[in-house]
């Protein structure tokens, strides 16, 4: 299957609401978008699919005016447009709905519904900028919300807030509605309400762009689908139902390398054991996870499934129900200090916010968890530090090989190597918990990191890798645990074919 299978639609058709062609965007050394194409039709819901790093979020940012493309054209109802700001895009009728980014929790619902009018332009008084309460109530009714206009937005649930955001879109002359993973925080009932509103809007001629990882929702709501991979459109505006879930997932992830994972010699002793854990904040505390010595367990889950949350709990980084133990010693979820002291390394998913000490040198970044071992009477032995960390940095091929350079000056892939090295340098390492260990990392660094993880496992460390990257899972893991909607949906052996994994991930009947 390739782009050529789908006849490119005729860009001059008059029911096209928005057409973006040849969109490219380069950030520094990384090419986020190479040549993306997207055509939305009036009155249709269009799903946009793509894995992390496929360029989806960049494309959305370009459409809503938050980012300027390096190349390509955008036409709105046949007329070429170029947006310098989000406000311009909104004035032109492209209304984005973010997860809960653009609402004001401390302000009233009425004020939130009037936010665009309140924010822009001169004038003195708020009174005339607030939308007519009757109309505001009408919009809220349309999205199925029965709430007091004067109540603060913060008193609503996340799902209800999302609906407020949709209600606010109704106040604008909306030609293209952009829904960026709107259901991530919603329960089923709230999602249904949202879909009903979107369908009603589309019935009156609005085009909707719907970004989601949940196939159920896409099948329920979308009329057409576009798939991005590596910054290119690989499926262009295909009617929903033409491709099966497996075909779509395959298009998202590419052919992939079905390399056999390292061989696990024998069933070893359990090392990292979690009982009664929860995946995601709304999950129930009922999940058990056991990782054995020398084993790499792949925790798979699409975004929003709770897989990352479960992994963070196992690493001791996130509080929640249940209990954890490593060897004979037990610790509470959230007690990261004890977890580290017991020899559990943790590599967080958000490198910059939770992992890197940008102001400190590469060596210091790598040695932080092993400082206790380097100190004699409170004195750090510099040579011991270098002896502990530098071989790791060498093995991970840190480039440039300057352990004394500031971490912030390295590329993303090399910063990630520092976090891996930090994990490997944990004294008495018994288990490693890695979240998205190669997100946004170049191919070479990725290979190096994978090798390091395999080596660690081969030396008897219990490894848990949580990732939304299927290729990574298949080259690393001895065993797969699939998390879907906060539950452990399946456990598959390493021999499981890709299709079975895809089915388990997407929750299709084939599973």
């Amino acid at each position: 299957m390739s782009a050529s299978d789908d006849a490119p639609s005729d860009d001059t058709r008059d029911d096209l609401a928005l057409v973006a062609t040849g969109i490219a965007k380069v950030y520094g050394a990384t090419c986020a978008l190479r040549s993306a194409r997207l055509a939305l039709r009036r009155g249709r819901v269009h799903a946009l699919l793509g894995e992390n790093g496929a360029g989806k979020s960049t494309l959305v940012k370009i459409l809503v005016g938050a980012v300027t493309p390096d190349a390509g054209h955008i036409a709105l109802a046949g007329a070429p447009v170029a947006f310098g700001s989000v406000t311009q895009a909104i004035r032109a009728g492209i209304v984005p709905i973010y997860q809960h980014l653009s609402l004001f929790p401390e302000l009233s619902i009425h004020e939130n519904l009037s936010a665009f009018a309140l924010a822009a332009g001169g004038g003195l008084w708020t009174g005339r900028r607030l939308v007519d309460p009757a109309r505001a109530r009408g919009w809220l009714k349309e999205v199925g919300l029965d709430v007091d206009l004067a109540a603060p937005l913060g008193s609503l649930s996340l799902g209800e807030r999302q609906l407020v955001e949709v209600a606010r879109a109704l106040s604008l002359d909306c030609r293209v509605l952009v829904l960026d993973e709107p259901t991530a925080a919603l329960n089923a009932d709230e999602a249904d309400r949202l879909f009903a509103v979107v369908r009603r809007l589309c019935a009156s001629g609005t085009a909707a762009l719907f970004i989601s990882h949940r196939f159920d929702e896409i099948e329920a709501l979308a009329d057409e689908v576009t798939v991005l991979r590596d910054g290119r459109t690989v499926i262009d505006a295909a009617p929903i139902g033409r491709h099966s879930r497996e075909e779509l997932t395959h298009a998202m992830l590419g052919a992939g390398v079905e390399a056999a994972p390292a061989r696990l010699s024998e069933r070893a002793a359990p090392v990292l054991v979690g009982r009664g854990l929860a995946a995601g904040r709304h999950g129930r505390g009922s999940l058990d996870v056991i990782v054995h010595a020398g084993e790499i367990v792949g925790l798979a889950g699409l975004i929003g499934s709770g897989a990352l949350s479960l992994a963070a709990t196992l690493g001791g980084a996130q509080a929640g129900p249940g209990e954890l133990s490593v060897g004979d010693a037990s610790f509470m979820p959230g007690d990261r200090r004890r977890a580290a002291a017991l020899g559990i390394a943790y590599v967080p998913a958000d490198r910059h916010a939770e992992g890197l000490f940008g102001a400190l040198s590469a060596r210091r970044n790598a040695s932080v968890s092993g400082l206790g071992r380097l100190a004699r009477l409170g004195w750090l032995r510099a040579r011991a530090e270098a002896q502990m960390v530098d071989p790791l940095l060498r093995r991970l091929k840190l480039h440039p090989a300057l352990p004394e350079a500031e971490a912030a000056t390295f590329s993303g892939g090399n910063q990630q190597k520092l976090l891996i090295a930090r994990g490997l340098a944990v004294p008495g390492l018994k288990a490693m918990v890695l979240l998205e260990p190669t997100r946004g990392v170049d191919v070479a660094a990725r290979g190096v990191i994978h090798d390091a993880i395999r080596e660690a496992a081969a030396s008897g460390v219990a490894v848990l890798v949580a990732t939304s990257d299927l290729d990574e899972l298949m080259v690393l893991a001895h065993r797969y645990l699939v998390v879907r909607e906060g539950t452990l949906a399946a456990e598959l052996p390493r021999s499981a074919p890709r299709a079975a994994l895809l089915a388990a991930l997407s929750g299709s009947a084939a599973a």
């Binding site: 700001s85 989000v86 406000t87 909104i90 984005p96 973010y98 980014l101 653009s102 609402l103 004001f104 929790p105 401390e106 302000l107 004020e111 936010a115 665009f116 309140l118 924010a119 822009a120 004038g123 003195l124 008084w125 708020t126 009174g127 900028r129 109540a151 603060p152 913060g154 008193s155 649930s157 996340l158 991530a184 925080a185 995601g280 904040r281 990352l308 949350s309 963070a312 980084a317 996130q318 509080a319 967080p348 998913a349 939770e354």
Partner: protein
């Protein structure tokens, strides 16, 4: 506690604290609850109240201004000079002087992206020095119309001295600005969700600047009041005022993380600080002990803010704690 109830409870802390403190001091010193004392305190609270209301704008925009005390001293001194030159209304020059200082703070913080603490520390030092320079190294500037100024500051008309009424009007104006004017609403929007402000089409730095401008203007007005009450421009006054104003604003329910404020509650916060000071004074406690009490009140305000914040995150789904996933 639901977030909504929490939102209201926050603004009730200061009035409740006033009642409690007044009750305690009433028992400790019988004179405290007399009408005379009430009226006398009603005349005293306004300098702190104006500073706290100004501070409220800065805090609501997720910052704070530690230069307000120095700004009040400088603008009060310049106001006294202007009053001596062109008559008592010249005292009002204090307001544009305060506004100018606030504009500098606002530009540094909003446009040049200084941290509020650095920017206002820099202006605090510079303004303090300027106040000394214009006044010949800290000499007080006696007001020629001191008698009239004193009459305006101390002789009650219908319960409050005329300048008290003027300050009350200014506080009322602050309420109008916060609740009914675009400037105030945008400051609350910025404090509530800084990332979203640009997404809905506002210009964040202008909003931030306006918050510090309001803060500076109110500090200027407080300086004018200070001069009128003292009958002289006091270039070295105002140290410690910035602390009291932050405490009053926070006790008045202003969220340190921004986005939520109520002018009347801040007025109550300022009143509470004054009640504590006066009450301790009437109870025969040394004024220095009262200073310790104000320090304790500042720490308590921080604890209150942190406590309510913890409740908020624990019992609502507003924002997840740091280092976790949504």
């Amino acid at each position: 506690m639901t977030p909504r109830a929490e939102g209201r409870a926050r603004f009730l802390v200061a009035p409740a604290a006033i009642l409690l403190a007044a009750g305690l001091f009433g028992v400790a010193s019988p004179g405290f609850l007399s009408l005379d004392n009430g009226l006398s305190m009603a005349g005293q609270i306004w300098i702190l109240a104006l500073l706290a209301v100004g501070q409220m704008f800065a805090i609501a925009a997720r910052g704070f201004d530690i230069s307000v005390g120095a700004v009040a001293a400088l603008s009060g001194t310049l106001g006294a000079m202007a009053a001596n030159a062109i008559g008592l209304p010249g005292l009002l020059l204090a307001v544009p002087v305060g506004l100018a200082c606030g504009t500098v703070n606002g530009w540094l913080i909003g446009r040049a992206r200084f941290q509020p603490i650095v920017a206002t520390l820099g202006t605090l030092l510079a303004v303090k020095g300027l106040a000394l320079l214009v006044s010949d190294d800290g000499q007080v500037v006696p007001l020629e119309a001191a008698a009239r100024a004193a009459a305006l500051s101390f002789d009650a008309v219908a319960g409050l001295p005329p300048l008290g009424w003027a300050a009350l009007a200014a506080v009322g104006l602050a309420h109008v600005v916060l609740r009914h004017m675009l400037v105030g609403r945008r400051i609350l929007m910025l404090g509530s969700n800084p990332e979203a402000v640009a997404l809905v089409g506002a210009v964040p730095w202008r909003i931030e600047m306006s918050a510090y401008q309001l803060c500076g203007a109110f500090a200027g007005l407080a300086g004018a009041l200070m001069t009128a009450r003292a009958g002289a421009g006091l270039p070295t006054e105002g140290a410690g005022m910035e602390l009291q104003s932050i405490a009053a604003a926070v006790i008045g329910g202003t969220v340190l993380a921004g986005g939520r404020a109520n002018v009347w509650a801040v007025l109550a916060g300022a009143t509470f600080v004054q009640v504590v000071l006066t009450g301790l004074n009437l109870s025969g406690v040394s004024p220095f002990i009262a200073q310790i009490a104000v320090g304790a009140v500042i720490l308590a305000s921080g604890l209150m803010d942190a406590g309510l914040r913890t409740l908020l995150t624990r019992f609502s789904r507003l924002s997840p704690p740091k280092g976790t996933f949504r």
